[in-house]
Each structure stands twice: as C-alpha cells, then as structure tokens.
C-alpha cells in the first residue's frame, strides 16, 4: 500500500510540475469564482502566493510523498501558516481562507483523472490519497487561522485588563481609581492589587473608587468592592466609593447589600472634597480686584 501511495505521490508530483501553469490558472479562476476578495488582496499578490505554494507542494510530494509530517513538508506548512495568519489579520473569513487550499482540488483532480484515464481502480486510489493530502493541508490552514485569531483575542483581553485599571493621584495622599466596565473576579483581582500597591507606593491615606463607568452592580460586584475597601482599611487607608448612579443605588438597596460601613458619594468631586476635608485642607476663592475692574 505504501509503495502504491509512493507511486501515486510521484505521479502527482509529476503532474503538478508539468501542468503547473494550467493548474495555477484554473485554481486562480476557481478562487475568483468562489470567494476572492479583491478589496482585501491584490490579484498579483494572490497569483504569486498560489504559484509559490504549488511549487512547494510539488517539491514536497516529490521528496516525501504524502506524509505531511515529514521534514520536507515543513516549508509548505510554514507558508500556510504565514498565509493564514496574514489573512486572519487582514479580515478574511475562515471559509475564505480555507478555500485557498480547497479550491485547488478541482484542477488537481482533473489532471489526475486525465493521467489515470485507463485504470479506474488506480484512479480511485490516487484520488483518495490526493483528497486526503489537500484536506490535511486545508485543515492545517484552518487551525493556523484560528490560532492567530485566538492570539489576537488574548492580546486584546490583556490590553483591556491593563488599560482598565489606571490608578491616578489626585493630591498628595489621595488616590483615585476610575473603574470602567463590568467587574468580574479576574478584573477585580487586578484592580485590587494595583490599587493596594499604589497605596503603599504613594503612601496615600485615602483612595477613591469611582464606579461611574460600571454599568451594573450585582451582589458579586458589590462583594468585590467591599473586599477592596476592607483590604485597603487593613493597610491603613480609607476608601470612598463615588459615582453611585441613582439606578445603582436602587439596586444596592433592593439586593440588601450592606454598604453602611463604606463612605459613598454621588460624584468624584464630592469624594475629593471630602478627602481634602479629612486631610485638613481648606479652599477659599481668592478675591481678585483686577477682574472686577475688567467687568466694569
């Protein structure tokens, strides 16, 4: 069986080499008909990719047969990898990317059929192994495509985690943490850690957690908030929660969450004023004579 497949492979390699140009033309046509995206990719670029790919598979089949795990296939795989990751980034859909490989089937099969015209038995065997080869390559492309997409998603998640927890210093000894987005356990952990670390680093006595950007507060979110407040208190800093919207105030009371031990304020400005007051800082508006004369 292995010998037969080797012969098939040699034949297919021969077919690929001798009919390279006509296969390429038909393949390109098939791709154009199916899912070519002229908005995302130039004709010439696709053509050069396709001819390079044909060259690589004909070399690989000649060297190592249909065993795609063999080292001879690594160049082909590398190219597929490159193609699928670049397409994932360019915004092709998964099926459009996979079609790049699958649309090769028809022109290739036509040639195989012509070559084995007199022997139906051998033709079936050859077609079967060729199908397996193309399918294997297609699946590989698909896998690489998904992998790239997942990479993108993972990076974005990380970015979001980092972006969403800035701790800002409002005054000497007063920190603010504007929270944006829903608070889940993983995010709260990051938020909590960065807030507590900043408290230590800046030696701040008061931390304001602003939840204006938090769309909903449920029991879990409230519990996370309370935990953060308690942890800050244990370290010797005081927490004020600000930006409680009317809707959220209603939810908190309806859910029976006890926020009595925590100072809450409606706006960040109120909380800031309170923290200044606690630190014994007072403000007064300066009387400016020159402004009065200007107005006159």
């Amino acid at each position: 069986m292995a010998v037969v497949s080797k012969n098939d492979a040699a034949n297919v390699a021969e077919i690929l080499r001798s009919h390279q140009n006509s296969i390429l033309e038909e393949w390109l046509k098939a791709m154009t008909g199916a899912t070519r995206r002229s908005d995302l990719m130039k004709e010439s670029e696709l053509r050069s990719q396709a001819s390079r790919f044909l060259k690589l598979i004909s070399d690989a089949t000649e060297a190592a047969g249909y065993d795609t795990h063999a080292p001879a296939w690594s160049a082909t795989k590398e190219m597929l990898n490159e193609i699928s990751s670049s397409r994932a980034q360019q915004g092709f859909t998964p099926s459009e990317t996979a079609t790049f490989v699958f649309s090769l089937k028809r022109p290739l099969f036509d040639r195989v059929r012509a070559a084995y015209a007199g022997d139906p038995q051998a033709l079936t065997a050859a077609l079967w192994s060729t199908t397996e080869l193309v399918d294997g390559l297609g699946l590989y492309t698909f896998e690489m495509f998904i992998k790239t997409r997942e990479e993108v998603i993972r990076r974005q998640q990380e970015d979001m985690l980092e972006l969403s927890t800035p701790v800002v210093k409002l005054w000497d000894g007063v920190l603010a943490l504007p929270l944006i987005g829903t608070l889940d356990s993983a995010r709260t952990q990051v938020v909590m850690e960065s807030l507590l670390q900043s408290i230590v680093d800046t030696n701040s006595k008061i931390a304001i957690i602003d939840i204006t950007g938090v769309p909903t507060v449920d029991t879990i979110t409230a519990q996370h908030l309370l935990k953060t407040v308690t942890a800050a208190r244990l370290m010797g800093a005081e927490c004020i929660i600000s930006g409680v919207r009317p809707q959220i105030a209603q939810t908190i009371v309806h859910l029976g969450i006890n926020l009595l031990d925590v100072t809450t304020k409606a706006t960040l400005a109120d909380a800031f004023l309170l923290s200044l007051k606690k630190m014994g800082i007072t403000f007064s508006r300066e009387k400016r004579d020159d402004q009065k004369t200007d107005q006159k």
Partner: protein
C-alpha cells in the same frame, strides 16, 4: 528560641515583626505582650507587620486576638504597614479584623495613637 522584641517608647509599646510568623511564635508573642502591657501599664500598642509577607488564618486570628486582649488591658492597638498581599489574603479568608485600627506606616500609626490618647 526566636523571640519577637517588644520595645517600650514612653507610653507605648512597639512590636516589630521582622520574621515570618509561625504558630508558636505567635502564641509566645501573645503571652509576652499581655505581660508587658500589664507590667508597664502602656496605653498604646503599635504592631509593625511591614516585613510580614505571609499570613494564614491562624496568624490573622492571632492579630485580632492580640488587639482584643490589649483593649481589655486598656491599650489601644494599631497595626501598621500591612502588605497588599497580606491584606488581600486576610480579606479572602474572611478576616476583616474589625476593631483593629490600622495605619500605613509607623509614623502614621504613632500619630493615630497620640491623637486617640489626646482625645481621652
């Protein structure tokens, strides 16, 4: 055997925990501290745990017990310099140490003790 030093500073006792606490050390500290408070009739105890990097539920409860005992002996307790990781652990363990006063560092803790003394 290791021992945690208890220093006297005027009306206050200063305890700095520089090593990782284990259970027996915590028990010994509890004994020593209560003894020293009654001997010196101190009115404030300041426990610096800034070098403490690990706590378990036992140590957490011990801190809370020590504070409770000191209060019974008429000494205000302030725990200062708790590390973020320690604070998070205590909260996750459900030990929010109610009744213990806290401060960011020894300076702030001293000020807190002094102001609470003046208030009496």
């Amino acid at each position: 055997m290791e021992k945690i030093p208890i220093l006297r500073m005027g009306d206050y006792l200063l305890v700095t925990i520089q090593v990782d606490m284990h259970d027996r050390l915590a028990m010994a500290l509890q004994d020593d501290l209560t003894k020293r408070i009654s001997e010196t009739s101190a009115h404030g105890v300041l426990i610096d745990i800034s070098s403490l990097e690990m706590v378990d539920s036992f140590i957490g409860r011990m801190l809370s017990n020590i504070a409770g005992m000191s209060r019974v002996l008429d000494a205000e307790t302030v725990v200062v310099g708790m590390q973020p990781a320690v604070a998070i652990t205590l909260v996750e363990l459900g030990l929010s140490l109610p009744g213990i006063r806290t401060a960011l560092n020894v300076d702030a803790g001293m000020e807190l003790l002094r102001s609470s003394m003046n208030g009496i």
